[in-house]
Amino acid sequence: MISFILMVNKQGQTRLSSYYQWMNMQERVALESEIIRKCLSRSELQCSFLEYRGFKVIYRRYASLFFIVGTVANPDAGPGAENNENELGLLEFIHTLVETMDKWAGSICELDIMYQLEQVHFILDEMVMNGHILETNRSNILRPLDLMDKESKKKEGMFGGR
């Protein structure tokens, strides 16, 4: 299952983090900085996978932003189980995520993610849940979000307004 999704820029600043396995703050900070350091040290030609502390990390770089997905063996399979995640599949998933965000923001950039953090989280929540893939169709992801935004802005929408 997916254990965490990160968006980190080239300077190593985290722009978004979503964990599907609880980790305390020190662990998160250490993990994020270690992983980005490893990603940065790799060249374009090298493969998009790395192994770090029992995580299999799949990353992809778009402009100055790294999209990083960490996976672990499915916790239901008991201890010592093998990580069966399809690395290539997740690489494709990262691309889908980026395309979706692109469609949502016109042309996504680091600042969009920064200033609309909660919106990006809403997108992510439509795509991943508890470390499993929920939806990969762009319009299926964005349509409900649009609707929610529109309706909650209306005074007398489906949410009753305030």
Binding site: R15, S17, L88, G89, H121, T136, E151
Partner: protein, 941 residues
């Protein structure tokens, strides 16, 4: 008033230093706390959003948890939405406040608004605890049949979380999945397939893989539906909704293939049902894009895991081969990954046929080995993993050479692991001893710094087990390596110094080796002319100088210093007659050098070895010789201690490892394989006896008439003395012999009067130090064997003032009450107990020396004395001085004794009592005898 979120972000962005950023956040945190305290409702929403931002930056946000709870109860949708998001990001599953949310979640689940219900489902899916799952599962389940696909897909994953948290619920809902599999929404399909996979995994965990359970058998009936689903995806052509690079929903395809793998593994019928569709996927998938490769990758794994047709396997193996040769590193990575997964999966069942994973592996061996040289560490790691599986008897030499090459370039932190793996390979597949020793030494020269204790131990064991010729070679090679090294390869130094100490005399001659031309003609032709190996003879001065140079470096670790001392002491013996006077003198000085060392161990060794050397040279002080022992005995024993260690029996060590299950790499000497059990110090031999206690209980339990007094206490404090030699006629139950075997092999080697007990860890800190204590002087019956290992007891003479520590013949304190008590007689064997109070201040302690007297006309063999004492007595037993008792009274016959230390903790109220079990062989007859001895003077012992 607190800032707007946008302003906060702006401020943080403009910070130039981390300290500045911290200050901004600290100020804002304080503002938020105030706002929370003042219940500023209108800012709640904004504050939580800010907390999310701060949380992402890595600052504490725990104070906002309750705010999230308040927000989710809000009727206003944007607030509720932020509240749920905050909950999912800020709270852990263990948070106490989470239970407060249960009620809100229940309300929202029942909301008529699909977005509100969706939020609740999402939160349950990410965060539900076991309690929440139990409470909310019925509501979640209702949404599985909702009219909205938006809710159905979320319900699937939320439900999967609930099942994970309370696995007992899963069987009740199995039939729901059938309808869900017919759903038209891909979102629902992908979630339900993942849900089913999860259920299967949980099931396998509970019932064992392939176990027939309700869920599994229900799912097996769904295989045709899954196959149909997959086939539809393949044949649907272009569908704009789910197209990724010309492939219809690769994500769903991958998930279905995964599920099929779990269903088809170990099930012939299911495998048969999916054969066709798998073939279709394998042949029709477009491989120019990543998405297609993802599907193929999954498909190959499924084909290799299930019981697929032969033709299909050929297809899969070919795809893997293609992957391996691909130029894209990602593809090569997954190919390596798949191969090692398949090999592990196949494990024992792999028939090695032409289409099995292992044959594919062998076919692509060169490619895989090439991957070890890839600049990409991820690829190298995968390749390394595979190579371990690849090694067999034929290719071990080339592959190990590759591994050693890789060892040179790999990052330091991986070296430990590789060393251990190489050791395993070497253990298992070595063609001959020479190669093995050679490989291990090469490995030590490369990674002696990093490799763990186990590797060192085995290197030494293998060298000591080899023949004289090979030992010479190894020592020569090690000495050369030590000279070339810069003194940082600790492992090399440890092994090298040990070998020089043991086999120092062997390298004083020229060494020549010509490999036998006939044995491996192919190899030598292929490579070059047979390598002629030769080393020049060394003179003792050079040898000593080499070791001395190592110890002179200030970076030299203490462990190496200690070993070097042992080495010098041993060399002193080896070179005694060969070397010139100056060298011998130098050796003596080197041993003495640490007499004043701050390190206890070094000081102790230095003093003891000095004493040992002087005794071995015949300088026996009169006070050292007491009782019936002669000066010759003492000298012989000292020489024995300095002579070569007996060979360690590998089989016994390995058996021992299995027994204790200790393969832990630890630098602690006692955790070394076998080290614990056979170390010669007293307390350790008692430890080692513990596994055998149960067997002993049986023996005693079967005794005909156990004395009532001893019976109560018979269970526990049976100390089994470890020194008993197993003879072929030993009447021991076979189970109990693991320890005995070990020692018997050691004892059978030298026929000296007091064979030193060999610790299988050749560096156990007390190797030599403890040996004299227990055995060396044991022939002297009146000796008080004082353990010379720390912590110092009041009777341990100060090593500085009394350099004769090694001779534990510390004169017993004045006026020890010696009292000889008649034991019993059995079949001509007389047993007497000589009791002594070693400590005038501690009356509880007694040393009992058992004297064996043979009154028959032939020697008695296989002496084995076991003693049980009541609980209030603690006891330590030492091995008998010999297990063979010669006829007493004959000239030259040695007295056989055995020493037992007892402490009566209830002295005064209870008396010393012993239950004795005696076993020996007289004229070919095994004799066993059980007796309670209670003739000790009341109140005194």
């Amino acid at each position: 008033m607190s800032l707007k979120l946008r302003d906060l972000i702006r401020q943080v962005r403009s910070c130039k230093t981390a300290a500045e950023e911290r200050a901004v956040i600290a100020k804002e945190s304080a503002m938020i706390r105030t706002a929370i305290k003042e219940e500023q409702e209108q800012y709640r929403h904004r504050n939580v959003a800010k907390l999310l931002f701060m949380h992402m930056l890595g600052y504490p946000t725990h104070f906002g948890q309750l705010e999230c709870m308040k927000l989710i109860a809000s009727p206003h949708f944007p607030e509720k939405r932020i509240g749920y998001l905050g909950m999912m990001l800020l709270l852990s599953e263990e948070a106490d406040v989470l239970m407060l949310a249960t009620n809100s979640l229940k309300n929202d689940l029942n909301s008529s608004n699909k977005f509100v219900a969706g939020l609740a489902l999402c939160t349950i899916g990410n965060l539900a605890t076991a309690d929440m799952s139990r409470d909310l599962a019925p509501e979640v389940e209702k949404h599985l049949t909702s009219s909205q696909p938006y809710l159905r897909k979320k319900a699937c994953l939320a439900f999967s979380r609930c099942i994970l948290k309370c696995a007992d619920m899963m069987e009740d809902y199995v039939d729901k999945f059938t309808t869900l599999l017919k759903d038209r929404s891909h979102g629902v399909l992908i979630t339900v397939v993942q849900l089913m996979t999860q259920v299967l995994l949980l099931d396998a965990e509970k019932n064992g893989v392939g176990g027939a359970s309700v869920c599994r058998s229900a799912f097996l009936k769904l295989v045709p539906s899954l196959v149909k689903l997959l086939r539809n995806l393949l044949s649907v052509g272009y569908s704009p909704d789910h197209d990724v690079g010309g492939i219809s929903d690769p994500f769903l395809q991958v998930q279905i293939l995964t599920l099929l793998r779990f269903l088809g593994t170990g099930n012939e019928k299911a495998s048969e049902e999916m054969n066709d569709v798998l073939a279709q996927v394998a042949t029709n998938t477009e491989t120019s894009k990543n998405a297609g490769n993802a599907i193929l990758y999954e498909c190959v794994q499924t084909i290799m895991a299930i019981q697929s047709e032969e033709g299909l396997r050929v297809l899969a193996v070919n795809i893997l081969g293609r992957f391996l040769l691909n130029r894209d590193n990602n593809i090569r990575y997954v190919a390596l990954n798949t191969l090692s997964r398949c090999v592990v999966q196949a494990g024992v069942t792999d028939d090695g046929g032409p289409n099995s994973a292992s044959s594919a592996l062998q076919r692509h061996r060169t490619t895989i080995v090439d991957c070890l040289k890839d600049p990409d560490i991820s690829i190298r790691q995968r390749a390394l993993e595979l190579i371990y599986h690849l090694v067999n008897n034929e290719n071990v030499e080339t592959l190990t050479a590759e591994l050693l090459n890789y060892l040179v370039l790999c990052p330091r932190e991986h070296r430990v692991d590789i060393c251990t793996r190489v050791l395993r390979v070497v253990e298992k597949y070595s063609p001959d001893d020479r190669w093995r020793v050679d490989t291990l030494i090469t490995m030590l020269t490369i990674a002696g710094r990093e490799c763990n204790r186990e590797v060192l131990n085995f290197a030494i064991v293998y060298i000591s087990r080899a023949n004289e010729e090979l030992r010479t070679y190894a020592t020569h090679k090690l000495l050369k390596a030590i000279r070339d090294d810069d003194g940082t390869q600790k492992g090399l130094l440890v092994v090298g110094i040990w070998c020089i100490g043991e086999y120092g005399d062997l390298i004083l001659k020229d060494y020549n080796y010509v490999p036998p031309p006939s044995s491996n003609a192919d190899n030598s032709n292929a490579n070059e002319e047979p390598v002629h190996i030769s080393f020049m003879a060394l003179d003792p001065t050079t040898v000593v100088k080499t070791v001395e140079d190592v110890t002179k470096r200030h970076t030299c670790p203490e462990e190496v210093q200690e070993l070097a001392l042992t080495c010098f002491a041993k060399l002193n013996d080896r070179f005694a007659t060969i070397a010139d006077e100056q060298t011998v003198k130098k050796l003596n000085n080197l041993v003495k050098k640490h007499k004043g060392s701050h390190s206890l161990e070094l000081q102790l060794r230095s003093c003891e070895y000095t004493a040992l050397i002087s005794v071995a040279k015949g300088n026996v002080a009169q006070e050292d010789v007491t009782g019936e022992s002669t000066a010759q005995d003492v000298i012989a024993a000292a020489k024995e201690a300095l002579s070569r260690m007996p060979v360690v029996d590998l089989a016994v060590i390995q058996r021992k490892q299995k027994l204790t299950g200790e393969y832990k790499d630890s630098d602690n000497a006692s955790a070394v394989p076998g080290g614990k059990s056979v170390s010669s110090s007293n307390n350790k031999s008692n430890e080692a006896a513990e596994p055998n206690l149960l067997d002993l209980n049986d023996i005693f339990g079967a005794a005909p008439t156990p004395a009532p007094a001893a019976e109560t206490s018979i269970k526990k404090p049976i100390a089994k003395q470890n020194g008993t030699t197993k003879t072929e006629k030993q009447p021991e139950p076979p189970k109990a012999q693991s320890d005995l075997d070990l020692l018997s092999d050691i004892f059978s080697a030298p026929a000296a009067p007091a064979p030193p007990v060999l610790p299988s860890d050749p560096f156990a800190a007390n190797t030599l130090a403890a040996t004299p204590a227990n055995n060396l002087f044991a022939p002297t019956p009146t000796v008080v064997p004082t353990p010379t290992v720390p912590p110092p007891s009041p009777f341990l003479p100060d090593p500085i003032t009394a350099p004769t520590t090694a001779t534990p013949v510390t004169a017993p304190p004045k006026g020890p009450a010696v009292n000889r008590i008649k034991g019993f007689t059995k079949e001509g064997l007389d047993i007497d107990f000589e009791c002594k109070k070693p400590d005038p201040f501690n009356k509880q302690k007694t040393i009992i020396t058992v004297h064996f007297k043979n009154n028959t006309d032939d020697s008695l063999y296989g002496l084995n004395l076991q003693v049980a004492v009541p609980k209030y007595i603690t006891m330590e037993m030492q091995p008998p001085t010999s297990t063979t008792i010669p006829i007493t009274g004959v000239v030259g016959a040695k007295q056989v004794t055995q020493t037992i230390h007892v402490t009566n903790t209830m002295l005064g109220t209870k008396n010393l009592m012993m239950k004795v079990k005696l076993g020996f062989t007289s004229k070919g007859n095994k004799i066993e005898h059980l007796q309670t001895c209670s003739g000790f003077e009341a109140g005194k012992y």
